[in-house]
């Protein structure tokens, strides 16, 4: 037998050997005690997107909702976060491990979890799942989507920017040119134009999908903001996750106005030194949504289907920290009134 043939035989039989080994070993779940419902307090599992707790933005907001539920409703929690460049299977494992450990409901933070949630939810029809920021026509009935009307909050941010600009020139920085961030852009532009159609709006996206680094690259955010400042913009709204902190830094250095996103960024320790230049933040109340969802589940009346949190339901709002937008409160209230009454329809695509 030639050496190469032997080698091939060894590799083949070896791989089959490992495969058969996998087929007959014990499953990891065999030993764990899968405690189901009825064991006292509610067990809530939470799977974060990349960044997890401490991203100063989207994930942190979800974490606040979970902390509130823990404090006020006495639920038991378990958390895990995604890591960069992980496989789809890792997300599925994360969710099914939470299922096995007896967590129900399970909340997935971010649209990247959509395929994994669908798959695991189909395999576990008795477990309730929630997914933030995403919905699909094919998701099973035990999946609840928690979505937000980002365009409505961004519209208000646009109104605020238009009222504060001195150069009649404002800017928008999007993290990744995804469907989600386009909603921010559309709302912001509509808000600006509603005040004064002659105001110029600069638009910069840091990256295009599938490159999602635009959400966590403060360097890129800073560069983009500098570019817009050089062109003459004096109020810049950045919807770019943690890249936004770079943009805020650049804007603060230039002494202009920045608008934050997702959380009230003027209140964040990491950005505290720039808080005098953060006009407001378009807050996405993920915490409210998470808390509402957990509370409903605890009360035995779970939310189902697609639950959209709009301006009316306090799903999105403008932060007032610093009091910089107090002088235009009347104008903002009027715009809010227009939207909640349905008189103004905010576009979702630019």
């Amino acid at each position: 037998m030639r050496r190469s043939m032997k080698l091939a035989a060894v590799v083949l039989s070896g791989s089959l050997g490992i495969a058969s080994l996998a087929a007959c070993g014990a499953k990891s779940t065999d030993t764990s005690t899968a405690s189901g419902s009825g064991s006292g307090s509610l067990k809530v599992g939470m799977a974060y997107d990349i960044g997890g707790r401490g991203d100063q933005s989207f994930n942190d907001s979800a974490a606040r909702g979970l902390d509130n539920a823990k404090a006020q409703l006495g639920v038991t929690v378990s958390e895990a976060e995604a890591k960069t460049g992980e496989a789809e299977a890792d997300k599925e494992t994360r969710l099914s491990s939470l299922v096995t450990a007896g967590f129900n409901p399970i909340i997935a933070v971010g649209f990247v979890y959509q395929p994994a949630v669908e798959k695991v939810a189909k395999a576990n029809p008795n477990v309730k799942f929630a997914i933030i920021d995403s919905s699909s026509t094919t998701q099973p009935s035990n999946v609840t989507s928690l979505t937000f009307s980002e365009q409505e909050g961004s519209y208000l941010a646009g109104v605020a920017a238009a009222n504060k600009t001195k150069t009649k020139h404002v800017g928008f920085i999007g993290g990744v040119q995804s469907e989600l961030i386009k909603k921010f852009e559309a709302g912001y532009k509509a808000g600006v134009k509603s005040v004064d159609p002659s105001i110029a709006v600069e638009t910069t996206y840091l990256t295009t999908p599938p490159d999602f680094t635009g959400f966590n690259d403060p360097g890129k955010g800073k560069e983009a903001a500098q570019g817009q400042l050089d062109k003459g913009a004096d109020v810049i709204f950045s919807a770019a996750g943690s890249s936004g902190s770079g943009a805020i830094e650049a804007v603060a250095m230039a002494g202009k106005w920045a608008i934050g996103v997702d959380s009230d960024q003027a209140n964040q320790p990491a950005l505290a030194k720039y808080k005098d230049h953060i006009l407001t933040s378009m807050v996405k109340n993920v915490d409210t949504a998470v808390f509402t969802y957990i509370k409903a589940a605890k009360d035995g009346n779970p939310l189902t289907g697609i639950k959209n949190f709009d301006l009316k339901a306090n799903g999105v709002s403008l932060a007032t920290t610093g009091g910089f937008i107090d002088d235009i409160k009347a104008k903002l209230d009027a715009a809010t009134q227009q939207i909640t009454s349905g008189a103004t329809k905010v576009p979702t695509a630019p």
Binding site: A19, S136, T137
Partner: protein, 383 residues
Amino acid sequence: MTSPNPAKRTLAQRFDTERIALGLAAPLLAVLLSVVICSILLLTSGRDPFKAFNVMFTYGTASDGQVLILNRATTYYLAAVAAAFGFRMNLFNIGVEGQYRIAALFAAYVGAQLNLPSFIQIPLLLITAMLAGGIWASIAGVLKVYRGVSEVISTIMLNAISLAVVGLLLVPGIFAPKVSSTSNSVQTDPISASSHFFSINTAGGVLWGFIVVAVIVGVGFQLTLSRTRFGFDLRATGRSESAAAASGVNVKKMVLTSMAVSGALAGLIGMPDLLQNSYNYGTSFQQGLGFTGIAIALLGRNSPIGIVFSALLFAFMDVTAVQLPLQGDFPQEIVQVMQGTIVICVVVAYELVRRYGLKRQQQKVGAELAAQAAAAAKKEVTA
């Protein structure tokens, strides 16, 4: 086989135990060192390292963990072979990342458009992916041969360009459906059911049938290297380009071919996931496999067998890492630290072991020569 070959060495001679021990020493040393470093890191953050490794080991030996590891290793193996193919002739194809991305996009698109019988459809998709990957890689090959552009630079730049190309094509109305079924993500239509690759249902879950393709690729790689003129030329060019050119190897042709083959193999990387799991290419398709592949190829010393072990090791670490934060408060990033230190340590360890081996060899030869001289001197005295 039937002709007597007096020069043929015996089995024991060919499998020189010392050489094997030295070969294994370097990767084992690297793994051990990285375990020690990670243990220290865990200890300083106030966590019990043994418990963390226990969590990983327990999950890795359970059947569901094993199936996941094998599935992951399938992808990793293909990624590493794609990189190793170029490395064997000193051609540093850093662009595996971009090549598999482009390949997966085109294969997903073709798979969604066509619905042919499986025995035509699946090979067609594999060929599409390999062609796309190969053509994308050939850009760097052509630039190197005709313009002298270093392939390291051009492939890295092509990675960035591939992102832009995907961003340009993966939009509603071009490669993605006009009306998306999901609200915030973009992906191609699902590939037709006939494109689904076979899988094996085990007690631990679904084992991807693509492991067979990975084995075939591995065996093919080994046979090409050891049994073909092309493989010989490849290795010769890798050792010394000028010597190879002097002995009649067309180095330009070799560069073009191996770059294309490396890219074609890279095209297969996304296929297990596309044909067995996600069934579409979209914004949540796994990224970074190209770079993981380079690390695995380094650890496996670019050998088809070595890569099997390093791919299994990396798959084990990545799969079991997910359990770390869920079973005890361990940061899963520790696994990335471990992988990073393994790669650094292994480069150092290989060099140390090589020097040690060289020294031993010199000593051995020296001792033999001394013995011979002594014997000769003795003969003279007795004569």
